[in-house]
Amino acid sequence: MIHSLFLINHTGDIILEKHWKSVIGRSVCDYFFEAKEKAVDPEDVPPVLQTPHHYLISIYKGKLFFLSVIQTEVPPLFVIEFLHRVADTIQDYFGECSEGVIKDNVVTVYELLEEMLDNGFPLATESNVLKEMIRPPTILRSVVNTLTGTPVFAEIQGVIEACVRLTGMPDLTLSFMNPRLLDDVSFHPCVRFKRWESEHVLSFIPPDGNFTLMNYHSRGHPVYVKQSISFFETGPSGRLDITIGPKQTMGKTVESLKVTIHMPKTVLNANLTASQGNYTYDLATKVLVWDIGKLNTQKLPNLRGSLSTQVGAPKPEDNPTLNIDLKIQQMAISGLKVSRLDMYGEKYKPFKGVKYLTKAGKFQVRT
């Protein structure tokens, strides 16, 4: 299955290599570097590459490429999923998955990789199992909601992340006030599928520590940030006017509000005034970032001003899209509410807690 793994940073240095079968020379990575050169963005590198003797399957995460070398038929998703699991494990062990952290803990990472695959086939990929074998260097349950969507198509994508520190074999049951909101779900393997199907409760014996209990997807909730955006251009300059207002936040404040706009290449500079927060315009990448912070409902934040474009260059064809990041504490925009959490099989009384949070993942507005 998986023959070798190379960890490559974004400048193209190999920072770690691991072989599960016989050793494969680094030169195999040249094909990858070639593809990387061609790609405009690291994300544009094809995840699967074919070379004369090998297949290369890679993921890009934390500004690092995880490049695996394959020699025979294997489901590509199998490898991709595994590589993500490696990245997640590193994240879990060291708090982040970055070049620096891997370089600092190169021996532990190598040992982890040794345990995770045997002869190229996954052996132990659960972080609680791994932690029993390899010690990591050095309580609360949280529900996180991520909101995705464009006005064209709004959907809610959420996860329930769990942190469990309970001894013994506790059998937990988590029930929701409104399980019907959940449209489509996927579970951690510890969850009993059939209980969910029949009763819409999550019944499971949890592994120790942090893990993602469930991913879900629900539909039919309107986007709660209203945009009145007018963006127009005439002649060699343009004007921009963006206002953001709240909608349906149930009295909770919208925090860490940030608007990112990828401007057309011809926009040279932006001369704007923000009624709230700061804006920056990166001349090289043509990215306009407007950091608003807390949303003031009394006086809606507004950003307006003129844009100067290249003289003589034609007017950009398309209006740029806006990406909006935000966070709402104490509320899950999906409306999902945890009803109760029960424990069976153990005598002691556990500490329970729940935290709701809304974050915009990819919230895009077409102008």
């Binding site: 016989s22 699967v48 995460k61 038929e73 998703l77 991709i80 999923e81 002869n119 086939f121 029949s198």
Partner: protein, 1114 residues
Amino acid sequence: MSSSSAFNDEKGGSSSVGEPEYGHDPASGGIFSSDYKRHDDLKEMLDSNKDSLKLEAMKRIVAMIARGKNASDLFPAVVKNVACKNIEVKKLVYVYLVRYAEEQQDLALLSISTFQRGLKDPNQLIRASALRVLSSIRVTIIVPIMMLAIKEAASDMSPYVRKTAAHAIPKLYSLDPEQKDQLIEVIEKLLADKTTLVAGSVVMAFEEVCPERIDLIHKNYRKLCNLLIDVEEWGQVVIINMLTRYARTQFLNPNMNESLLEEGSGGDKTFYGSDEDEDDDEEEKDKKEEAHAMAKRKPYVMDPDHRLLLRNTKPLLQSRNAAVVMAVAQLYFHLAPKAEVGVIAKALVRLLRSHSEVQYVVLQNVATMTIKRRGMFEPYLKSFYIRSTDPTQIKVLKLEVLTNLANETNISTILREFQTYIKSMDKDFVAATIQAIGRCATNIGEVRDTCLNGLVQLLSNRDELVVAESVVVIKKLLQMQPEKHSDIIKHMAKLTDNIQVPMARASILWLIGEYCEHVPKIAPDVLRKMAKSFTNEEDIVKLQIINLAAKLYLTNSKQTKLLTQYVLNLAKYDQNYDIRDRARFIRQLIVPTEKSGALSKYAKKLFLALKPAPVLESPFKDRDHFQLGSLSHLLNAKAGGYQELPDWPEAAPDPSVRNVEVPEWTKCSSREKRKEKKVEKPFYSDSEGESGPTESADSESDSASGSESGSGSEESGSGSESEESEEGSESEEEEEEEDEDEKDKKKKKKQELKKPVQESESEQSSEEERKHQRKMKQCKSDTESESEEEDSESESSHSESEDSESEVEVKKKKKAAESKPPSKPVKKESKKEKKEMSLLDLDDFEPTPSPQVTPVNTFLSNSLVTDLEGLSLSDAVLSPATIAPSSALKSYELLHRITGEGLSVEYCFSRQPFSPDANMVAVQMQFTNNATSETKNLHMEDVKLQSGMRVKEFPEIELLPAGETATAVMGIDFCDSTQAANFQLCTHTRKFFVSIQPPVGELMRPVFLTENEFKKEQGQLMGMNEITEKLTLDVKCRNEHAIVQRVTTAANLSRVPCGSDKECRFAGRTVNSSSLVLVTVATKEEGAAQLTVNCEKMVIGTMLVKDILLALTQ
């Protein structure tokens, strides 16, 4: 190579800055003397007797390996420490050994004895890691040692060690393929293993060593299907992929009859429509013809094992692991009947929200699927809309999917979406969008003109690439109907002045040449311009200029003769030989000389022949001959080690190869066969041979309990679903415990602890006694508990048979003991049932009446009579239970014991009239208090209903002591709909949200009709009120009793007497509106049958057809 070495240098340099602790790293120093000194240092540390120093040294060495530096010269110093007591050091030494053993074979042998010792260690983890390292040392000399170690480990007590053994198999195989035969033996042994831990790994080994030995899977097929949900995720992927291939060799194509049936159905309907007017003779004749036709069609029956696979993989669509979801999706795509494939769409769409790499792979597969099964993804159209932040490769794939999904109804939405894409800054993507518009236009005639107009507008776009791409696409579109669009051609002719992209220029020239008759004035002028710039054009443009010249010469030689000569002369001296060739060839063809042969006469026909319009095809067309989800599919090329997905067999291979001694379903069917007095024994003979005792006992049991135990097993399956996983882990734990202790002691203990165990044991040991017991039970007519007991028995014998060990006696006991805990709850329930009966005898309502004893109510008696009529042929022992459809009452779980904090509630539709209100369906609830404390004030509250529905609450149960069971009856008026009734079940402390949803068959009550009445009523319920379906009866359900049994189980109907023995008729009325429900099952030869439902309420009719269909085919 050069670049990689450059990276090395760079790396060395950076590491000295970035990592101070490795400051003296050999590569960073670059001076050889210091290099050696450095390693001396490490050697010294390794030789010291302080573990901390050793550990430090090993860490540095492993860090070197990780960064791709050579540390092989340290081998002797490291290998000395292989027996080190410190576990941390030991682990790192192992890591080093695995990496360098192949290069230092002789020295590596020094360490072997340590591992051999490790293999005998009492600690399972040490045994496993010793085997892991030993098998990873790629030294040919130790092959025999490895072989021995693997064989031993394969029968190790610890499942973890056995798993390691499975992993070692492919390692040894790649080291020495000669060992294949011996390794297959080990694989065969491990395949029989029953632990989930081993299953994935051994199937992996099977796939790498002997994927062609599909015969090894037969006996383990059912076990693998059943274990699947509890196997770790990576193993699931491998097993599912393998089973997909297996199923393709063993089962029949579930979609094979589809087209044929569609053809035939029209004729059949007319036949059945006029059916009542015809007399019996004619009917029979027609039936014969029908049967003949059906025989030709080879009616399709899905193998129960095929169904098992589909059923057991379905929940895994909800796995968090994308690879598992994809594996199930491809399994459904390749194996499921068309109607069932749809379930995978939602799961795949969910994966689109995952990492972009996952999206990339999933979209490739979705693109292939959308070509074959477009409808499946249509509801998710918007999920494939493109975001501006998507990487280009994802955008292009989404575009592909959107194009495949386009049809008449959604094309306008899709085109609007495409319009926004054209404005994108990503030009590759814009080009792909234009291509996609072209494809939509060719595929959907209605929008061709709209698309063409849109594309023509794009011709005035500022971006040349956009224009060029549009030209190419327009060219293809125009070819379909050139005569209408001469103005577009003219417009394009003008573009030749501006457009520089060669492909676009070539396309325009070809268009003008091809349709020069539509633009007679412009064409020569274009040629003139082109002749002028000929020498500066790209090759493909030059070729098209020659073509244009040739075509004009043939149609309009007067104006273009000289121009053509000029162009041909230029081409004659071109640098490119293709162009020179083309010029020479064309000159011979078109310019008549005395030498020119017969061909020139036909020049016009050759050049101006009508050319077929190009078909714009998806690049994903026909990719599904590769197994979906595979690397080969993604690359559209066969990858090394890819196993072809075989075509479905013409005729199914013998299904009995999968029989493992006495699987329960085989028993049932053979029992039925016996009752029918058909001799079909040879088919099942293998299983019967081994199960002699069981069979003889069963022969007395009746068909009712027989077929019931078929459905009953499913029931108990769903009933104890939540416990399934627990069971799995339990038995595993047990095994592990056993590993550590002596087996026998444990077993004895267990047997002492659990009475039922002894019972079943005695059952197995003395058949005589058992026979007797059975008879007794039958007299008690406790069919319910009986069938359940059979379940548990067959379970035990099932697992037993999987065992390849020879010590049958010992194992038998052990297995019996093991299979007991799972079946225990079931038993309890059945006991409860008994108790509850006695309780309820005093009550007004009859619960689960036992057939002979209970006085049946009027409705039932009707069916009883009719059933008896039909039963006149069967022998006395069989009849009593057969006529008791009500004994098969299915109970549903309302509240699970865990959710209910000890309180569990089950309900069933008792099929009794609900006396307080005739419009209500009686629901009988059974409360069991499993908690340690008593429950008080059980009542219901907060009933939430759809409009029109009503509920009569059950009387409050004041006290339910711990361990006790109580029953209550409530009435629900469902308004003849299958809407659920939601309410809260309250105790003195807690409230539980519960809901009751009725199967459609419970929404009616039986009525008695005579044959004539039936026909008359049926005559009035024709047309829209009649639904007819063809079906193939399940193997176990080919006789009248079985059909009656199954239909009455599925729906609360009574039998209508009927003259023909080929037809079973049933009648009933819906509870609320008293609409008549008439069901007819007409049987034909070889299990073919036709189901007709007449009902005024079409929704009820449709749903009923589905339910009965399911009951008769499974």
